[in-house]
C-alpha cells in the first residue's frame, strides 16, 4: 500500500530524512517511531503530498503523491499533530465539511457520519460546538473525520499526545476496530512505546533521518535483547536528549528566511 524508496529530504544544510526505504502492506498498522527531530513528521509530510522529497520515490496505492496529488489525497486520511477542527462549528458540521471537500456523496455521507460518530462515542454530542469538547473528544472526532471518506490509508501523527491513559486506550481500540472491519492501512507515529507495542503489526525506528530498525515489535525486542519496546528503542536510538527538536516547519521557515534575505 505504501512504498517508500531511498527517500531523502534536506532543508538547506540539514538532512531531515536520509535514504529511508520501507514498505507498508495493505491492512497493516505500521508504527513509525523515533526521538524528537528524527524525521517522522517530515516523512509523513512527504507521504501525504505536503512536501516534495529531495530525492527518492513514493508510491501510495500505486500513485505518486507529487504527480497525482488530488487522486492520492482522496485515498488517505490524515490526523495532524495539532488539532485541525473548527471550534465554532458542531461535530456534525465538521464532518459535513470534510465529506464535501472529499467528494463523498450525500447519500453515503449521512449514514457514514452516523456510523462513525456512534463508533467513536460522539453521536450524542453531534449538535454541540466543538470548542466545548474535551481534548480526548476532539481527537476522537478528528480520527472519525479522517475515516469519513473511507480512505485506504490513515495517517496518524502523534494522535494521543496529551491524552490520559483511558482516552488513549479507547482511541486505539476504535482505530483497531475500523482497521479490522474495513482493512484500512494505518500509519502512525507516537512517543508512547507501550501503545506501539500493543497496536502495531510492524514498527520502523528512525533516528537522525535514518531508518535504524524495522520489523514486528517482538522481532525488534529480540534484535536488541531488550525486555520492553521502550528499552529496545533506547538501545537503538541512545539515551541522549536531542537538541535538533525543531520541527520541519521551523526548518523550512529558517530556510525561507535565509533565502528571502531576512524579510520575515
Amino acid at each position: 500500500m505504501i512504498h517508500a524508496r531511498n527517500l531523502v529530504r534536506t532543508f538547506g544544510a540539514v538532512t531531515a530524512v536520509n535514504d529511508v526505504t520501507f514498505e507498508v502492506a495493505q491492512g497493516e498498522i505500521f508504527a513509525f517511531l523515533g526521538p524528537n527531530g528524527a524525521g517522522k513528521t517530515t516523512t509523513i509530510k512527504m507521504l501525504t503530498t505536503m512536501l516534495k522529497p529531495t530525492s527518492g520515490t513514493i508510491e501510495l496505492d500505486g500513485l505518486d503523491p507529487q504527480k497525482e496529488q488530488n487522486e492520492a489525497r482522496k485515498r488517505f486520511g490524515i490526523v495532524f499533530q495539532d488539532p485541525s477542527l473548527d471550534g465554532d462549528l458542531t461535530a456534525a458540521e465538521n464532518m459535513e465539511i470534510h465529506g464535501v471537500l472529499y467528494h463523498v456523496p450525500r447519500k453515503q455521507r449521512i449514514p457514514r457520519t452516523e456510523e462513525l460518530l456512534k463508533l467513536f462515542e460522539l453521536w450524542d454530542r453531534r449538535g454541540d460546538q466543538v470548542k466545548k469538547f474535551s481534548g480526548g473528544m476532539k481527537r476522537r472526532l478528528e480520527i472519525a473525520r479522517g475515516f469519513l471518506h473511507t480512505p485506504k490509508i490513515l495517517f496518524l501523527d502523534e494522535p494521543t499526545l496529551g491524552l490520559d491513559p483511558q482516552s488513549r486506550n479507547q482511541l486505539w481500540n476504535h482505530v483497531k476496530k475500523v482497521n479490522e472491519a474495513e482493512g484500512v492501512t494505518v500509519f502512525l507515529t507516537t512517543h508512547y512505546m507501550d501503545e506501539a507495542d500493543r497496536v502495531a503489526h510492524r514498527i520502523g525506528v528512525i533516528d537522525h533521518g535514518k531508518l535504524v530498525a524495522q520489523g514486528t515489535p517482538s522481532a525488534i525486542k529480540q534484535q536488541t535483547g531488550a525486555a520492553s519496546l521502550e528499552d529496545a528503542f533506547l538501545a537503538l536510538t541512545g539515551s541522549t536528549i536531542r537538541d535538533e527538536s525543531a520541527g520541519s516547519a521551523d526548518q523550512m521557515r529558517q530556510f525561507a528566511r535565509m533565502w528571502s534575505g531576512g524579510k520575515r
Binding site: 488530488n70 490524515i78 485541525s84 473548527d86 464535501v100
Partner: protein, 252 residues
C-alpha cells in the same frame, strides 16, 4: 463547486453564531454616525455643504463593509492558529476553490454587516434620495466587500501569525478608511491629499455610494459613477488574482 459552497456556508454560520460580536461591531459605526454626524453638523452646514449627518452615513456604511471584509480575509490567521486551514489545504480540492469559497463567504458577511449598518443609519434618521437608491448602494457594497476580502486573503496568506495584525491595522486598514473621504468631502482639497485619496480604492466605493444615495443637489461626486465602477472592478479583479496567487503559495 460544492467545496466553494460549503466553505461559503461555513463563513456564514460562523457570522450568524457570533451574535455578541455583531452587536459589538455596531459600536464603532454608531459612534462615528451619531457623535461626528451630529457634532460636526453645524460647521458643515455653515460651510454650505448641507447636512453632515446625511453626508457621513454612506461613509460609515462603507467603513463597516471595509472592516468586516478585510477581517474576514485575515480570519485565515485564526484558521492557521487553530489548525482548520490545514484540513482544507490537504483536501483533494484545487486551492483556488478554497480561496474563492472563503472570499465569497467573507464578502457575504461583510455585505450583511453593511446592510445592518444601513438599517441603523435609516433608523437614526438617514434618508436616501429614494427607496431605489438602496439596491444601487448594495451593488457598491458588493464591490467594496469583494475587493477588501481579497486583500485580506492576500495579507492573511503572507503573514505567519497574529503578530503582524496590529501593523496591518494601523498602517493599512485605518489609512484606507481615513483617506477614503468617508468623513470629509474629497473636492476642493490640497494637491497632496487629492492625490493620496485618489490612490485609495475605498474612495471610489464611498463616492459611488454617495452618488446613488444622496441627491444631486447636496452632493457632487468627486470621480463620477463610471470611474467609481471601473476602478472598483479593476482593482477588485487584480486583488482577487493576487489573493489567489498568495493563497496558492501557503505552505502547510
Amino acid at each position: 463547486m460544492s467545496a466553494i459552497y460549503i466553505l461559503w456556508l461555513r463563513e456564514l454560520k460562523r457570522y450568524t453564531r457570533s451574535r455578541a460580536q455583531i452587536v459589538a461591531s455596531l459600536g464603532q459605526p454608531l459612534l462615528y454616525l451619531l457623535v461626528l454626524g451630529f457634532g460636526l453638523s453645524p460647521v458643515f452646514k455653515r460651510a454650505g455643504y448641507g447636512s453632515y449627518f446625511q453626508f457621513i452615513a454612506p461613509g460609515v456604511i462603507g467603513m463597516s463593509v471595509l472592516f468586516s471584509s478585510i477581517f474576514s480575509g485575515l480570519g485565515l490567521l485564526w484558521d492557521r492558529q487553530f489548525g482548520f486551514l490545514k484540513e482544507t489545504l490537504v483536501a483533494p480540492v484545487p486551492r483556488i476553490q478554497i480561496m474563492i469559497g472563503r472570499t465569497l463567504g467573507g464578502s457575504t458577511t461583510a455585505i450583511l454587516q453593511g446592510l445592518l449598518v444601513t438599517l441603523v443609519c435609516v433608523l437614526a434618521g438617514f434618508r436616501p434620495v429614494s427607496f431605489y437608491a438602496i439596491p444601487l448602494a448594495l451593488g457598491f457594497m458588493v464591490l467594496i466587500a469583494l475587493l477588501f476580502a481579497a486583500l485580506g486573503v492576500a495579507i492573511g496568506s503572507s503573514l505567519q501569525d497574529m503578530q503582524g495584525f496590529q501593523l496591518i491595522m494601523n498602517f493599512l486598514v485605518m489609512p484606507i478608511y481615513f483617506l477614503s473621504g468617508a468623513m470629509f468631502p474629497l473636492s476642493n482639497q490640497g494637491k497632496v491629499l487629492t492625490f493620496v485619496t485618489a490612490l485609495d480604492p475605498l474612495s471610489y466605493g464611498i463616492d459611488g455610494m454617495r452618488s446613488v444615495l444622496l441627491s444631486a443637489a447636496t452632493f457632487q461626486p468627486a470621480f463620477g459613477t463610471f470611474t467609481d465602477l471601473a476602478v472598483l472592478i479593476g482593482v477588485g479583479v487584480i486583488l482577487l488574482v493576487y489573493g489567489a496567487y498568495r493563497f496558492s503559495k501557503i505552505e502547510i
